[in-house]
Symmetry: D2
Subunit: 332 residues, 4 copies
C-alpha cells in the first residue's frame, strides 16, 4: 500500500513531472502549531544546490491544504502539497524504450503494463522524498522531546566525502555513501515482540526511501563476528542504561532507553553522465545509453534529512501506540 | 501487531514455557494438500541437536487444528499448534530480578509492567520461530515454483564454521553469523514503490526474527563504496535479466526477475555460560549473573530455515497481491 | 480478513465439527486478572438448553493457552480454545450436494471450490460465536466502567416471545427476532469522522455475526419519516446530555456521551425440520430436503450475549484509540 | 482511520470552508481510461439545485493531480481535488459556542479539544461526500460489468416525495428518507465469513456517509417477523439463482449471485431554519438558536449517488480480493 503507520499514517502521491506531489497525514494530534515556515529548514537540507547534488531547483514551498486551522492542527487529515514547476519532460521521452540501468524504468513498465508515467521516473522518483520530509517535519514537532540526527559518515568508501565527490564528478560518475542515524531520549518499551519490532518497522520505513540497500542496528553486521561475551550490553542502572550500546538501543525488538542507532547503505546515484549499455525493449538489442539531464553525483548527500523524517514518523507512531503522546496537544 | 501480511497473514502466539505455541494462518488458498508430514523436514532443520545448538529437545509435532479437511486446506483459517513438553521453568525463576544481558528480560518487564511471562523469555523466546517455520512450510507449498534457499555463510567472522563454534563452546561463549538467502524464479513486478517495496516488506519480516541485527540486499553495504558505473546492473535481455546482480533482484522496490539475494547479520546467542554483570532490579546493585540451562552456542546455525520461512511468507503475500497465484488450487 | 479491531484485535478459527475452535486476542493490556471462571456466565447465556434453542450441548469450557500468567494477562497474545466434543458429522454428509436454503452451503462451496468443510456449516457455523463471546468477556473486563446490555425485545414479530417460539416449534418452523443493545457510560469522542464512525465500526462487527440482516441506531429507520425539528436532540448541559436520544448516542460518527443504542434484526434460523426445496448440485434437479439434526427454533434467543460481546470488543478498541484505557492495568 | 478498503483504498481530506477537498485513491489498476468528463454525471446528480437541496452552488470540477498520464491510470496513487470557491465562513462564526443540534459541532469540539475547524461542520461536512462520489466514479469504471442503482424510495415517511418536501420547506423544517440500492451481476463468492462479510464491509462504508442511521439487507427488519420457511430462499438452479431474494443476495456473509439489495435510513437534515434550543457552551445556559445559511430540506435527495459510490468502492475491493479484476486493464 501507499501508506505507512498505524496511528500516525502517511500516504504520498505525485510524480516527478506531474503538476504536484504531496503527502496526506492521518492521525496528527489536534492542537499542534504548524506554519509553512516550519518546513523551510528541513526542505532546504534536502534541496539541491550543494556540490554533488543536482542543479535542478524547485521552490519546494509546502501548501497546507487541509487539517490546519488558525495555525493549529485540527485533528482532521492534513494535506500538504508541493507544486512541480521546473520540469523538462522532453529529457525523458525515450525511457519508455531504453530503460536506465539501476532505475525502476524496466520494473515500473512491466508492473504497470506500460501505463506508468515514465518521465523522470514518474511516481518512483526520488523527488517524492520531499513529501516524506514534509511529513517528517510534522512528526518531529509532535515528538519534540526526542532528538534525531542523521549524518553522512562516508561516501564512496571514504571519510573524506568532498574529495570522493569531486572525483566522481570529474569522472562523470556517481558514488554511494553511508548515513548514520541516532535518536536520543527514546522511552523504554516502544515496539512489539516479533512482527512489529523496532527494527522491523524502522527498516520497513527506511527501505521505502529510494536507493537504500542495507540497514544495520547498533554494531550491526559486526555482531556476526563477535562473541556473546563481547556483544552483550551490561545494564548499569535500573533505568536500563547499558555500559556499551552494541544493540543500538533495542532488545527483543523493544526500545531499551539507550540511544537508537542505525546505519544505512545508500547506493550510488543510478543516473550518470557516462554512457552505459541497456536493452532496447522494442528491438531487444543492446545499445549504448547516454543519460541527459541534471543529476546528483552523490544522492547520499541529501539523505540524512529523509532518514530523520522516516525515523520521526515511525517513532511518532510507536509513541502513540504506547500512549506516550497526548491526543490533543494543549496550548503552549 | 502480532501479525504479518496483507492477503496471506500469519499471527503467532505462545510462550517458551507455556503449554503450547502456534500460528494462525489466514488467507491460505483452498485446495492446498497439507499433511503433518509436510512439516517434518523444515522442523528438523530448525531443531536442536547439531553441535552448537541447545540439547533441549522438543517433539515439535505440528497439530492441524482447523482449516484443513480431508487433507486439503479449506480456505478457512489454519491453526497449527505445538505442545511444549520439555520445559524446566525453575531454571528461570530469578530473571524477574536479574535481567539477562542481550535478552528482552528488561524491556519486556518494563513494557508490560512486570506482568510478562519471564520464564525462558516468555513470548519473546526464539522458540516461537517454530511457528514461523510452520507457516513457512505452508507458504513454500503455495509458491512451489519459487526456489528459496538460505545458508549460513560465516560464523564468528570465519568461513570455517565448525571451528569457530568449537572455539566458542570451549570458552563458554557464543558467536554470531551471517546467513545468505537466495530466491529464484521470482516474477517481475512484485512489491510497491516506496512503503511496500520488496526490501521494506522483507526486512520487516526478517527483523521479526529474534537476534537479527542487519540486512542488506544484493551487494548491500558494499554499494556505498562503489561508483554508479560499477554498481548499475546492465539489462541483457527483454525479460529483465541483468549482466550483474548488484541490486539483489530489486529496482525501485520492485522485483526485476533476477534472483532475490540478501544477507542478514545474526548476533551471538545472548545466553552464555560465562558469568556476566547485570543489575539487580530490586537493589540497583551490579551483580554477577551465571545463566543456567541449555543454550545454543551459535543460534545462527538454526536460522536458515527461519529466514527461508519468512521469505516464503512475504513472497506468497506479494504474489497474491499481484494475482500470480490461484485463489483455489485445482486438484493435482 | 479473519480479524477485527485495530489496537484490540481478535481473530477466530475453527469449524463446527473440527476438533476445536477459538480466538486469538491481540492487544489486551497487561495486568488484567483473568481466570477461566470469568467466562462461565456469558458462555451459559449463549449456551443451548432454553426452549427454542438446540438440545446439542457442549461443555464449552475455555482453555487459556497463552498470554495469561499467574492469573494476569501478560500483554502477549491470548489464545482461548474450546474443544468440540459432541459432534455428529454423519448428520451433514450430504450437504455437499444438497445446499440448505438460507445457509452458506452453496456460497461456501463456490467460494472455496468445494474444499470447504461442509459439516455443520464448517467455519461458517454459528458455533464460532462462542469464540466471539469469549473475546467479549475479556473486552468487558477491560472496559468495566461501561455497562452494556442487550436483550431480545421481539420474536416472530411479537412481544410475547415464549408464545411465538412455541408456535414455531409446533410447526417445525423457526422465527426471527429483534435484539436491542444499550451501552451506557460511554465517553464523548469515540469514533472517527467518515470511515471509522461509531456506526461504521459497530455495524461492521455486528454483521460479522451470522443471521443478522439489519441494524439501526437510535430511532433508526423511524428517522426517515421524522422532521428535523422532531429528530434533532437538544443539548441540555455542557457534558453533552441531550433531552431526547434519537441519534442513539452518536453525532457525526462520534459518541456524544449519551447512551449508545442500536437494534439488530435477526433472521429466523435457516435450519428447519419442515421439508424445503433445494437444488441437487450434481443433477441440477429441484429436490425436497429434510434437514436432520438439532436446531434452534429461534437463534435470536442466543444473540444478546453475542451482540454484547462484539459491542464490548469495538468499544475497547475505540477507547484504546482515544487513550481512555491504561496500557498496563495496575494491580487492584 | 481516514481510509476505506484493503486493495482499492480511498482516503479523503478537506473541510467545508477550507481551500479544497479531495480523495486519494490507492490501488487503481493501471490502464483505466479516465478523463475529467467522466465525473460530470455523478457530480451533477449529487449537486445542489433541485428543490429541497441547498442553493449553494459549487463548480465541483475535479482536478486530476496524480496517477493519470496520457488519459490512463498509471497504477500510482490517484489524487483528485476540488476547489472550494463559494464559502461564506461568517455564517458559522458562532458554532464554537452554540453547537447545532444533530450536528457534530459538540462532538467535534470535544474530540479535538476545540481545535477543529468548525466552519460549516469543517471536516465533518457532507460536502466531503463529493470526494466519495469522485472515488465512486473511478470504482464504477473499474467494475463496469456490475450495475449499481440507488434511488430514494420514500421521504418523510411518504412515497409522494415532492409533496413531502414541499411541506417541509413551507414549515422551515427538513425530512428524512429511505434509499434503496440494488447491484446486479455480482459474482458468487465475494466477502468473507464473519468479520469481512459483505454486510459488514458494506455497512461500514455506508455508515461513513453522514446522516445514515440504519441499514438492512434483503427484507431486513422484516426478517425478524418471518418464519424460516418463509424467509429461506430456495435455490432454483446450479448458478445459485433463488426463487425469492429475501436475503438480499448474501448468505453466510458471501454474495450468492442474486442481486445485492439493501436499504438505508437517512435522517432529516440537521440544519433547519426553525429556531431550536441548544446550550451555550460558555455559560451553560439553554438558548434559542436560529441557523442561518443555505441548507437542504431533504438531504436524502442527494444520497443515491453517494450510496452508489461507496457500494462501487466496496465491490471493487471485494472483486480485487477475489481476483475477479485485472491488475492491468488492457487497451480497449
Amino acid at each position: 500500500m501507499n501508506s505507512l503507520g498505524r496511528l500516525f499514517r502517511i500516504s504520498i502521491y505525485g510524480e516527478s513531472h506531474g503538476s504536484q506531489l504531496g503527502v496526506l497525514i492521518d492521525g496528527c494530534p489536534a492542537g499542534l502549531a504548524i506554519t509553512e515556515d516550519d518546513f523551510v529548514k528541513d526542505i532546504m537540507r534536502r534541496k539541491s544546490g550543494a556540490k554533488g547534488t543536482t542543479p535542478r531547483k524547485e521552490e519546494d514551498s509546502p501548501i497546507l491544504l487541509s487539517g490546519v486551522f488558525n495555525g493549529y492542527s485540527t485533528g482532521a487529515p492534513i494535506m500538504i502539497a508541493f507544486q512541480n514547476k521546473n520540469t523538462r519532460s522532453s529529457d525523458y521521452a525515450n525511457l519508455f524504450t531504453f530503460p536506465r540501468p539501476g532505475h525502476a524504468d524496466f520494473t515500473g513498465k512491466m508492473k504497470y503494463g506500460g501505463f506508468n508515467d515514465y518521465r523522470g521516473g514518474g511516481h518512483f522518483s526520488g523527488r517524492l522524498t520531499l513529501a516524506l520530509v514534509a511529513a517528517g517535519v510534522v512528526a518531529k514537532k509532535i515528538i519534540k522531546s526526542v532528538n534525531i540526527e542523521a549524518k553522512l559518515i562516508e561516501a564512496g568508501g571514504q571519510k573524506n566525502i568532498d574529495k570522493a565527490i569531486d572525483y566522481a564528478i570529474e569522472n562523470n560518475d556517481s558514488i554511494g555513501g553511508i548515513v548514520e542515524c541516532r535518536a536520543e531520549n527514546i522511552s523504554v518499551g516502544l515496539g512489539e515482540p516479533f512482527f512489529d519490532s523496532v527494527e522491523s518497522v524502522l527498516s520497513h520505513a527506511v527501505f521505502a526511501i529510494p536507493a537504500i540497500k542495507g540497514i544495520e542496528f547498533g554494531v550491526g553486521f559486526k555482531a556476526a563476528s563477535m562473541f556473546g561475551s563481547q556483544h552483550n550490553d551490561a545494564l548499569i542502572d535500573i533505568s536500563g542504561k547499558t555500559h556499551t550500546n552494541h544493540a543500538g538501543g533495542v532488545n527483543g525488538g523493544i526500545s531499551n532507553g539507550n540511544p537508537l542507532i542505525f546505519r544505512v547503505a545508500v547506493k550510488p546515484t543510478s543516473s550518470i553522465a557516462k554512457p552505459q549499455n541497456t536493452i532496447n525493449l522494442k528491438s531487444g538489442n543492446t545499445e549504448s545509453l547516454k543519460i541527459e539531464g541534471r543529476h546528483d553525483a552523490c544522492i547520499a548527500l541529501r539523505m540524512p534529512v529523509v532518514i530523520e523524517a522516516v525515523t520521526a514518523i515511525v517513532l511518532t507512531d510507536f509513541m502513540m501506540l504506547e500512549q506516550k503522546l497526548d491526543r490533543i496537544i494543549p496550548h503552549d
